[in-house]
């Protein structure tokens, strides 16, 4: 723990001046009488979900100010993309939000298809919807487990990972990898569904609602869980919109904005589902929204399996992908919010520029607004509730 006198606040780089350069003299009595104290949380703190450094300015246990220091996982994916062909960039997208790799792939692949003007076969679109919704369930289950373990409910992690494992096994059989999936190719899918795919997914969907009830038995009735989440980090709808938040964090505040409805892509207009909304915009509502989203995802997958058309899974795409000169923005509703890609093509085999719009990076800026006035222990819950993945924040 680094302690600095109260007149030294973090500068714009997030560094506390005087901590290392010069000896800080502390006059007798000021350390404990000081009204504010600056401490670091992370980047190795287990509940910051990766390598996030949070600089807290505390008054006792109460957070007075907060600054996030990011960039520890920066790999320069946007720059790498300028040197790679369009097909070679797809695996890098798995490594942005590595717990929802399939959703990321859909975003990038959809962007390139929009640039090329390729129409994807309907069977491929349906299979893409099934895989993306399974990934949404997997991502929310991982979020639930880690969020609960941050707050102190350890059992839920084991149960949530048990169900996530089933999804990963389905992915392994379908795609060939569990985490960094590389699920989609430009123009469709590489593999068609395997013979038992329909049965495996249906069996899983049959047991899942009962398992969600189980989590809710462990959490909704739990008075520790309620006192740690209800009324913590209340975010009104107008502020959530002003912070340009997306995903369950925005919908937890009661804003009905989901790209699957607002700006339908892939085969989503053909399915009947609802957008769960919160009322109070606190941590508990965001938890309820995600639980309800899992239930809606089950509905979508069941409809997609029922109406799965026959046919090819790959459109006719030239082997060397050379999109026409132009630019395109394509975004989808990933488990964490709107993930978008902005591609500029100069007519060659490599993109001139690729810009990623990551949901976690933009949602993370709400942490300061949410945390001020709460206790240090609540910061842990609030980092969990906005569901960040540092691979996506730093890119």
């Amino acid at each position: 723990m680094n302690v600095a006198p109260n007149n030294q606040i973090p500068n714009s780089q997030g560094l506390v001046k005087g901590m290392h350069e010069q000896e800080v003299e502390i006059a007798p009595g000021t350390l404990f009488d000081a009204e504010e104290m600056v401490i670091n949380m992370g980047p190795q703190h287990p509940s910051t979900h990766g390598v996030l450094r949070v600089i807290l300015k505390l008054d006792g246990e109460t957070v007075r100010d907060l600054d996030c220091d990011i960039g520890y996982l920066h790999r320069g994916v946007e720059k790498i993309a300028e040197h790679d062909t369009y097909a070679m960039i797809t695996p890098y997208w798995d490594r942005l939000d590595y717990v929802a790799a399939v959703s990321n792939d859909l975003c990038y692949v959809g962007g390139v298809e929009k640039l090329l003007g390729v129409e994807v076969p309907r069977r491929a679109e349906y299979l893409r919807v099934i895989l993306t919704e399974l990934q949404r369930i997997a991502s929310h289950l991982l979020w639930l487990g880690t969020h609960a373990i941050d707050i102190g409910a350890v059992t839920v992690l084991l149960y949530a990972f048990r169900e996530r494992e089933e999804i990963l096994k389905i992915f392994e059989d379908f795609i060939g990898a569990r985490l960094t999936a590389h699920a989609f190719r430009i123009g469709g899918l590489w593999w068609d569904a395997y013979p038992e795919f329909d049965k495996r997914v249906r069996d899983f969907l049959k047991i899942l609602p009962g398992r969600i009830d189980e989590y809710e038995t462990l959490l909704n009735a739990n008075r520790i869980w309620l006192s740690r989440t209800v009324g913590i980090g209340i975010l009104p709808a107008d502020e959530a919109i002003n912070l340009s938040l997306t995903g369950p964090v925005l919908r937890g505040s009661g804003v009905n904005y989901d790209l699957r409805k607002a700006q339908p892509y892939s085969a989503y207009p053909e399915f009947d589902f609802e957008i769960p909304l919160g009322e109070n915009g606190d941590t508990y509502d965001r938890y309820l929204v995600r639980m309800a989203e899992i239930r809606q995802s089950i509905r979508i997958i069941e409809q997609a399996l029922d109406g799965l058309p026959e046919g090819p899974v790959m459109a006719k795409v030239p082997k060397v992908i050379k999109p026409p000169v132009g630019e395109v923005y394509f975004s989808i509703e990933a488990p964490k919010g709107e993930i978008g890609v902005y591609l500029v093509s100069d007519g060659t085999t490599k993109p001139y520029r690729m810009r990623i719009r990551p949901p976690a990076f933009i949602n993370l800026q709400s942490l300061r607004r949410l945390s001020i006035g709460h206790l240090v222990a609540d910061v842990v819950a609030l980092i969990g509730t906005i569901d960040i993945v540092l691979g996506e924040v730093d890119r």
Partner: protein, 181 residues
């Protein structure tokens, strides 16, 4: 379209009594102990989601690896002649996003029946598994189905030099130490 409203209910008298009798505690413990009880008599069956014991006993119990799994690379041989299928076209190296494949070839006169053709012949093939991200793009680019990512997944080695797989290793695969039950 009606949205699903999630609300927090106000506390009623029944809920206050439930709270006093620690109903929530016992409800949660019931779920946990129901699994504990089943774990005592239920046998572990790999891949059954309804089982109580879920942990895979790894070295003793081999995990089920799917057919499409992308693991250790392999250079396939022609089953009839035993010669390599690789035609040294370099497409895999061009498709690789991380440049982990090096294909070495020479132009040589090859006797095919009665004709003598000048052909590209594979000499060396180096695959750096420490840089590979197992995306399958090389295997998809291969025109002769020679390079393939197989189901073997135990790629740990003691030295960094062991990550550079040469042609012989790619054709034969690694020798694993198999632990018996």
């Amino acid at each position: 379209m009606p949205a699903v409203k999630t609300t927090i209910g106000r506390r009623t008298l029944g809920e206050v009594i439930k709270r006093l009798l620690l109903f929530d505690l016992f409800k949660g413990l019931f779920v946990t102990f129901s699994y504990n009880w089943r774990a005592l008599y239920e046998k572990r069956e790999g891949g059954n989601p309804n089982q109580a014991i879920y942990t895979e006993q790894y070295p003793l119990e081999r995990p089920r690896v799917s057919e499409r799994f992308r693991g250790a690379p392999r250079l396939n041989l022609d089953p009839e002649t035993g010669q390599t299928l690789c035609i040294a076209c370099d497409l895999c190296a061009l498709a690789c996003p991380v440049d982990c494949i090096e294909v070495g070839s020479i132009r040589r006169e090859v006797r095919e029946g009665e004709k003598v053709n000048k052909k590209k012949v594979l000499t060396t093939f180096v695959f750096d598994t420490s840089r590979c991200m197992f995306c399958n793009l090389c295997s998809e680019a291969c025109p002769t189905d020679c390079l393939e990512l197989t189901q073997s997944f135990e790629l740990a080695v003691y030295h960094r030099s062991g990550f550079r797989w040469d042609r012989e290793m790619l054709e034969k695969g690694i020798d694993y130490v198999r632990y018996a039950k």
